[in-house]
């Protein structure tokens, strides 16, 4: 059941969505059991930026029918502290590390990418150009030409596999995927959260989230994820990390059928920290029973 992704052999097809699993915090809660049963075949760390960020004012969470809205706002310690403090710990995880980075400008992004881009502990970079919580992240990713320019800048500073995490909040995601491909990306990942605004339950019309707006994730967006993954798979040859509302092996199998090479589990991990482990087992059972059409591993990979 192993798979080749961007030149690297991974044990199975299930990774985590960036920002939905903090392996360091999880180790504080679960101890060595976490590493012993690490549920992801590669670990994607939470988005880091050039300078530290506190993140958004609370409340940051809203529960919605079959999903949730978050407005976390990319809190992180900045790239320097990431390299000094977190990287050594992530390097001890039993799986390859994918570092997710973002910047308010192409320049900033290239700077972050350059700083992490030569570290041997890191397998690949994922560019977050689609976070709906930060105005800059949103805008870059939604306009194909802007996206292409940004990806070119990052491509120039690192030889590592480059995954572009596309924004779902766009008219035609395939144009963005093509822009990423044209600029030299090695893979794309999607979908990020859908722009969403919950109001305060007190009925006075105010917004619930501290930052005003957030992003919708979870089962509610599963069919939207399938639509976008399928559309991108039809238009670009790059391998795809598909995500959005995956709760069961069946959902992972569907994303793979739609053209993904890997699947990421996000929100479901909040309901069960070991969810991705269960999903991987369910997916293997479906594959063994011939009830999953998984694409041949790595075939679509055009990585270095």
């Amino acid at each position: 059941m192993s798979v080749t992704f961007c030149g690297r052999q991974l044990e199975h097809r299930v990774v985590n969505g960036s920002g939905t699993f903090d392996a360091i915090a999880a180790e504080r809660a679960f101890g060595p059991a976490l590493r012993a049963a690490f549920p992801f075949s590669a670990y994607v760390s939470k988005t880091i930026t050039l300078r530290p960020r506190d993140g958004n004012a609370p409340p940051r969470l809203w529960e919605t029918p079959a999903g949730m809205v978050n407005s976390i706002g990319l809190p992180n310690k900045g790239v320097a502290a990431y390299l000094a403090e977190d990287l050594p710990r992530y390097a001890m995880l039993p799986v390859p590390l994918i570092t997710n980075v973002m910047g308010g400008t192409g320049e900033e992004l290239a700077e972050v990418a350059a700083a992490v881009g030569h570290r041997p502990e890191i397998f690949a970079l994922e560019l977050n150009v689609s976070c709906p919580n930060v105005a800059t992240g949103l805008d870059i990713g939604a306009v194909p030409s802007d996206l292409e320019a940004v990806v070119r800048r990052v491509r120039a500073v690192t030889a590592k596999p480059l995954i572009v995490k596309l924004t779902p909040n766009t008219a035609d995601v395939t144009l963005c995927a093509q822009a990423a491909e044209a600029a030299g990306a090695d893979a794309v990942s999607l979908i990020n959260t859908l722009r969403a605004v919950p109001l305060h339950p007190d009925g006075r019309g105010g917004r619930w989230l501290g930052s005003g707006q957030g992003g919708l994730s979870g089962p509610a967006i599963r069919v939207v994820a399938l639509a976008q993954v399928a559309a991108v798979a039809e238009r670009v040859a790059l391998p795809i990390i598909g995500m959005g509302g995956v709760q069961h092996g069946r959902h992972a199998a569907d994303l793979l059928s739609a053209g993904a090479t890997l699947v990421a589990v996000g929100t479901e991990s909040f309901r069960d920290p070991r969810a991705a482990g269960r999903i991987t087992e369910e997916l293997k059972a479906l594959e063994n029973a011939g009830r999953a059409r998984t694409p041949p591993g790595g075939q679509a990979s055009v990585c270095p």
């Binding site: 920002g19 939905t20 699993f21 903090d22 360091i24 915090a25 999880a26 180790e27 504080r28 809660a29 679960f30 101890g31 059991a33 976490l34 012993a36 049963a37 939470k46 506190d54 993140g55 609370p58 409340p59 940051r60 969470l61 529960e63 919605t64 029918p65 079959a66 999903g67 949730m68 978050n70 976390i72 809190p75 979870g218 929100t267 991990s269 909040f270 309901r271 069960d272 920290p273 070991r274 482990g277 269960r278």
Partner: protein
């Protein structure tokens, strides 16, 4: 009080098994305005007072007219022994309602124990805990004052048991809305009671009792759990009197184990801490304020 074979992390907290597990409802009982839920959790380690579990029912979690709840909910057991957990619930929304109407034999998902609990006054490792919120001042011979407001009772109850077990005398101050809510306090023979409406005990807030206690004995230390406004008052009193205080906080949570960064509170030092991994018990001094939910 914790069984010796419980695994602890580097920061001293009791570790949770990785992944949610199935618990079974052993009994449910109304206690005044609350519901007491007993859960058989054979594989779970015993929690430290102040730690919590994420709970969700296996069936009927979500759905119906509004399709909530979807995420699990946090609850601090008020006691645990022999593989059983006791939760005290206040029915305030769809999640607590579903849990409060569970029937004997129904299954629920349990993840935990999570978070860091209260640091006991004589705990030898008190100074070593790096897990945010621990307060080195908690090592001396200060007299513990335990303050609970409403549904903040469970972790305080668990703490009082642990203190009694170690032979440490403590003062218990309990505040409730009214007599119906206070009914659950009947088992605390030595506790002093306040109700907002005066229908039982002191007429007024429990923080009035605390103020009086701190005036009598400035060399105390405070443990508290309750509504945000009460904790904010406790924080003010403790800070004002130079008395160390450990506050067990509430926060809206999605995951309970540090994954989502959704449950944060603002810190005096700037930035935020996650209530679920850096709390829920935090030293009053580290908090800029106790934010209303």
């Amino acid at each position: 009080m914790s069984a010796p074979e419980v695994a602890r992390g580097e920061d001293g907290r009791v570790l949770a098994p990785f992944g949610r597990r199935r618990g079974l409802v052993v009994s449910t009982r109304k206690v005044g305005a609350y519901v007491l839920l007993e859960v058989a959790d054979r594989d779970g380690p015993q929690a430290d007072p102040g730690q919590f579990h994420m709970l969700a029912t296996v069936h009927g979690w979500g759905g119906g007219e509004d399709e909530r709840p979807y995420l699990p909910r946090a609850f601090s057991p008020m006691g645990s022994s022999g593989g059983h957990l006791w939760f005290l619930l206040e029915d305030v929304g769809p999640g607590t309602h579903r849990l409060a109407t569970l029937k004997k034999g129904e299954a629920l998902w349990v993840t935990g124990p999570l978070g860091n609990g209260f640091t006991l006054p004589d705990a030898p490792s008190a100074d070593e805990h790096p897990g945010g919120g621990r307060d080195p001042a908690f090592g001396g011979a200060r007299r513990p004052i335990l303050v609970a407001g409403g549904i903040g009772l469970p972790p305080v109850m668990a703490l009082s048991g642990a203190l009694a077990h170690r032979g440490i005398e403590a003062t218990m101050l309990l505040g409730f809305r009214d007599a119906a809510h206070a009914q659950v306090a009947a088992s605390f023979a030595g506790a002093r009671l306040a109700t907002d409406d005066g229908s039982a005990g002191h007429h007024g807030y429990v923080t009035a009792l605390l103020r009086a206690e701190l005036e009598r004995d400035p060399h105390a230390l405070v443990y508290a759990c309750g509504p945000a406004a009460m904790l904010e008052a406790v924080r003010g009193l403790a800070t004002g009197n130079g008395v160390p205080a450990q506050l067990a906080l509430e926060s809206g949570m999605a995951c309970g184990y540090g994954a989502c960064f959704g449950c944060v509170v603002p810190l005096t030092a700037g930035g935020y801490a996650r209530v679920c991994v850096d709390g829920p018990v935090m030293a009053a001094g580290t908090l800029r304020s106790v934010p209303a939910l």
